[in-house]
Amino acid sequence: MTMEGQNTTTTATITSEKPEETLEDLRSQIASLQSQLAAAKAQLEIKVPSPSTNLPPSPSPPLHLWLLLADSALPIGSFAFSSGLESYISHRSLRPSISPKPTPRSELARFLRLSLLSVSTTTVPFITAAFKSPSSVLALDDTFDATTTCEVARRASISQGRALCSVWDKSFVSSFLKVGGGGEDGIPTHYRPDHFGPSWGYITRLSGLKDTEETLEQVVFVFLFNHVKALLSAAVRLSLIGPYVAQQILASEEVGRLVRMAVERGGRIGVEEAGQSVPTVDLWQGRHERLYTRIFNS
């Protein structure tokens, strides 16, 4: 079993070195990827059913991966966090009334914008850095830990980061691990960062995504889009909007634009330049603990 695995890996590397757009090539590429997978599994000493060779071509690995990572059923518990929305709404109602009174929907839209801005300058730089240099992810994770000074935000980030790593270990590693194991890229696969941002960058990289500008943008886009989804889902449960409006907002051109802007903004910021750009977010989120009643953990 092990010997076979070794042999197929060699062929796989050769074929993948000359990618041509013919169907034949694509098929052989898929076959080689499958054998590569088998090899990786063999190395992990996991028994796998031998892949049948006559399957129809599966969607390209990124699409498959994105569908998994963007799934709201991904068991990392994002539904338990509102990223400060719950506290924000509670604090807004304490303010002296202003006219015209903002609607729940407009309050939500505002928070969404501020939250995306804040995440883009605090977390996105660390996603980018972890994706680009996965071997230094633990140092990045520690720096992020030192930089995230809001206790509530820390708990939310650590909880989701650790959960993402366990989903990787328990569910994804057997299918997606495409790097490391002493391979030429030399990416260590055994690190388990605590925080959500660094682990997102690291895990997506371990999944075999290439270190290109375009892929990196997708990595960050999916992260931020997930963030928006979690906020909207929290908003529905806080009865600010209904589920149809939530989908309407999610589908809107504006959300797409906001997320793209956040991707772009965060991509320009280095880890050393990261910082809080919406100071009130830290206060609202920090004060979440002081809410008399609360549904969410952040």
Partner: protein, 355 residues
């Protein structure tokens, strides 16, 4: 070094040999326990003033000033501070640090850097007036605190960093171009000599590659040129006109840290009926109620060995009073604790900028 008097070794020669905007404050304790300013150098636009301490002063105070009471674009201040073992140093200002507008879009920003080395058994207090960035100003502040003893926590600090919206009287409300403030706390070994006591060494460019272990970084970046949706920076700040951050660490401040944590835990809960008329309100601290009435919002976090407090408010005086109350450990009637940690450690008169 032999005479045990409080003198400085400042000489005109060393003054002229250091780069513009550089400064050095070096506190040394001579036996048996004489606090001295071993070195005090500075060059325009930075100005350091050290009032002669009274004989029994617990700490030395140095005022950090700028000529004309403000900094213009292109001004660059690099201040190095060393507090040797058993030293006590308090840095204050005399009025807010005004940041004037950037002359032209291509002019360099105004920069203030400070590197503070806190040796084991010494304490450092930074209680300045707020930074006041005027319209169209471009400001970068980078403060690095190197703590030598984080095992027993005897390198102790209380740091306050705060910023206001600008000149409200001139209708400046967060009309700045860019504001960046970064406070970094490192655990360093005695041997990591990024700071030496020699004069003329004042120019820390803050870019040394290795500086021990990063313990905490608090960074705030305000971008006045960016719109978020259609919201300007002023709108994003949500009618808050002032933001303050306090960072506290070290054994001498244990009680202060406990006090702040307890107060935060006892904050009236948000959304608990009407907290000010509720029967429950008697249980609530009067000062908390007052803070809420003054539009003060605050949160405390225990992070990696530090206590970090964030305060914001709609008006300056309310925030000042609140921060002063926190740091002087006032009781429910607003009376400061008699031997509050800061007074105990540094002596009286430390809260000048909060009055």
């Amino acid at each position: 070094m032999e005479p045990a008097t409080t003198t400085t070794t400042t000489s005109t020669a060393s003054q002229s040999s250091i780069p513009a905007g550089d400064g050095l404050i070096h506190v040394r304790v001579l036996p048996p326990s004489k606090l001295t300013l071993y070195q005090l150098n500075y060059k325009y636009p930075l100005k350091l003033i050290s009032p002669a301490p009274s004989q029994w002063a617990k700490s030395l105070t140095v005022f950090v000033l700028s000529y004309g009471g403000g900094l213009v674009s292109g001004d660059e201040v690099n201040l190095r501070v060393v507090v040797e073992s058993r030293g006590r140093l308090c840095l204050q200002t005399q009025g807010s640090t005004k940041i004037f507008k950037q002359k032209t879009p291509s002019s360099p920003p105004t920069i203030q850097r400070m590197i503070v080395r806190v040796q084991p058994g010494s304490s450092f207090l930074l209680l300045p007036d707020p930074v006041q960035p005027f319209a169209e100003s471009n400001y970068i502040q980078h403060q690095i605190f190197e703590l030598e003893d984080i095992t027993d926590d005897t390198s102790s600090i209380v740091v306050l960093d705060w910023v206001t919206e600008g000149r409200a009287a001139r209708d400046e409300h967060w009309s700045l171009k860019r504001f960046e403030s970064r406070n970094e706390f490192f655990g360093v070994k005695e041997s990591d000599t990024t700071t030496t006591g020699t004069s003329g060494d004042g120019g820390g460019n803050g870019s040394e590659s290795v500086r021990g272990k990063l313990l905490l970084r608090d960074a705030m970046i305000l971008d006045g040129e960016m719109l978020c949706g259609d919201e300007t920076l002023r709108e994003r700040q949500d009618s808050q006109t002032i933001f303050a951050t306090a960072v506290i660490r070290g054994k001498p401040f244990k009680k202060l840290i406990e006090y702040i944590k307890t107060r935060y835990a006892n904050e009236p809960r948000i959304g608990q009926k009407r907290w000010d008329t509720d029967d429950d309100s008697r249980k609530h601290n009067r000062i908390e109620v007052e803070a809420r009435n003054n539009g003060v919002l605050w949160a405390a976090s225990s992070v990696r060995g530090f206590l970090l407090v964030k305060v914001s408010g709609v008006e300056m005086e309310g925030v000042k009073r609140f921060v002063r109350g926190l740091l002087s450990e006032v009781n429910e009637d607003g009376v400061p604790r008699e031997n509050g940690c800061i007074t105990e450690e540094f002596g009286t008169g430390m809260f000048r900028c909060l009055e």
